[in-house]
């Protein structure tokens, strides 16, 4: 118990962060079928701008807002200026993956050129700690969980209660049919990239707050657990992505507590590969066929 409860506590915090990111990833991937390998770099870009705002003395709530706006703009532009034109030009699936990997490499190194390679830390204090059922949370960690819950609630309301949400789900299911029914799919796709980016930005901020310090290459390996969580939850299913995120995070933290911590990252890799092999359609029993990217 002495090892188990704290590990579950860590899992809840990193699961909350991963859930924000995975929901953002799955929303965009579900609607557009573009595997955005530069997602981690958008996260870290938002974290850098939030760091600048933090250094300028902005309050915490404003940092969350800044991260969301920066993420939304970066993600929207990534599609409008890079992915979209390539898709409209009729580039194949593989070409698109190479474009995405190139985007990730360029963004990662551009961040290093702009901000340098040193590690940065936000001024947010961890706060006093709370004990709960053997788990220990700092104020910052509880804040992260609250931010995650609120963000996911807002996303749920947007998807379920608004016309945009309905249009988005329609576009994800069948873009051609949605267009025929009068849905302006190009706007829906732009909105999907922006909403996904906002989630990505918030995930980036909470991620670096939880991590303590970050640098330009921090975005590289975050992608694996995010993709694992999104695919485990079934691409395009936000609720599934949340469940997938908690599963991946718990698996990583528990294995770190009971096995060798050096392989904490490898657990997410293993989960991703196992899911892809045995259940590529995710936990929802829906047959997913390969779709072409849309923009």
């Amino acid at each position: 118990m002495r090892v188990l409860a704290p590990a579950i506590g860590f899992g809840l915090v990193s699961g909350a962060i991963l859930a924000i990111a995975a929901v953002g990833f799955t929303l965009q991937f579900g609607v557009t079928n573009v595997l955005n390998l530069a997602f981690g770099e958008v996260m870290i870009t938002s974290a850098y701008i939030a760091y600048l705002a933090d250094a300028a003395g902005w309050p915490l709530w404003a940092l969350v807002l800044v991260a969301a706006v920066v993420g939304a703009i970066a993600s929207f532009l990534l599609n409008a200026l890079l992915y979209g034109p390539f898709i409209r030009r009729g580039i194949g699936l593989f070409g698109m993956l190479i474009v995405a990997l190139a985007a990730s490499l360029i963004a990662q190194n551009a961040l290093q050129i702009i901000f340098g390679a040193r590690f940065l830390t936000l001024r947010i204090p961890a706060g006093r700690s709370f004990h709960l059922l053997g788990m220990v949370f700092t104020t910052a960690q509880l804040g992260i969980i609250v931010i995650a819950a609120m963000t996911l609630l807002i996303v749920r309301v947007i998807l379920r209660q608004t016309r945009l949400g309905k249009a988005m789900r329609a576009t994800a299911t069948d873009p051609a049919l949605a267009r025929t029914c009068g849905v302006q799919t190009d706007r829906v796709i732009g909105a999907a990239w922006a909403i996904s980016g906002a989630l990505c930005g918030i995930a980036g901020l909470t991620f670096v707050v939880n991590l303590g310090s970050f640098q330009s290459t921090t975005g590289g390996e975050i992608l694996v657990p995010i993709v694992a969580a999104a695919i485990l939850g079934g691409v395009g299913h936000p609720a599934g992505a949340v469940l997938g995120a908690l599963t991946v995070a718990m698996a990583s933290e528990l294995s770190a507590a009971f096995l060798d911590p050096a392989y904490k990252g490898a657990v997410a890799f293993a989960v991703l590969i196992l899911v892809l092999l045995w259940r590529p359609q995710g936990i929802y029993a829906e047959v997913v066929t390969q779709k072409e990217a849309v923009a």
Partner: protein, 320 residues
Amino acid sequence: MSEAWQFYISTLLVYLGVNVMACWGLNLQFGVAGLLNFAFIIFQAIGAYAAALVTLGPHDPDSYQDYIFGAHLPFPLPILAGAVAGGLLALFVGVIALRRLRSDYQAVVMLVVSLIAASIATNAVGLFNGAPGLSLIPKPLASTLDVSLVGYQWFYVGLVAVCCLIVFVITKRIQSSPFGRSLRALRDNPDAIAALGGNVGTLRIRAFVIGGAIAGASGALLAGFIGAWSPASWDYRETFVLFTAILVGGTGNMLGAALGALLVPIAFLEASRFIPSFGRPGLVEALQWVVIGGVTLLFLWFWPRGLLPERKRTYTVPEG
């Protein structure tokens, strides 16, 4: 030509030959068979390690480096061992990843395999000595050949050239064989191949294994030349350099792949070494990666078929 220049030129030629071999292997997988192997560099790495293990000699517990299964195999067996290791690893990964997965997920799995391999090699110190990697790998035939330092350099250039020739003949023959035609058909339309009774999974795995073996052999040559090899030198970005080379040269064209190997890893990365270092440490390297990524995007946009496009093959049915 002064000795220093001879040394430099011969070193570049060895790197060029190794990269040309690797590009041909990757071209067989990507350009001909349509497999997006983002883990290509780890097959080169495993070949290098295998070659190192069979030349370093039995493991001495007092030594500063840890590894498994040491042996002293005579030349050219280490290069073959590299090819076998690359092929076996490709068989293992291929059987897991290539049979049922949709192709964009295959690419993701390859990217993940590349990350896992780096993590294992760094963390499992007993296997390949962890992050420092292996060093003092004996050079092939260095003790038997009685030549000067520069003389040995030129001998190695010849060795790499012979290996390139062998790989060229093999891959060329494969590409013009019925098997090669099936691979191109597989790339262009896998459903048609399946409908005609071809086994898509087996075809993919065969192309993957051959490419992996070529990568392994090229890695063995590189390890023998440098005499050291560490996990840091084979992260997934190195694979991206080879992809850029093929895209620049011309996907599916062997001459194009060789031209790409000359232009991207050799001409660009080596030429930028002469730029005086400026700014923060690591700045020049970061700029290099931005340029490599940018070049890839430019080529995909303006010249998606590369400088030397693959020629369109037409076949005539013999009359009779």
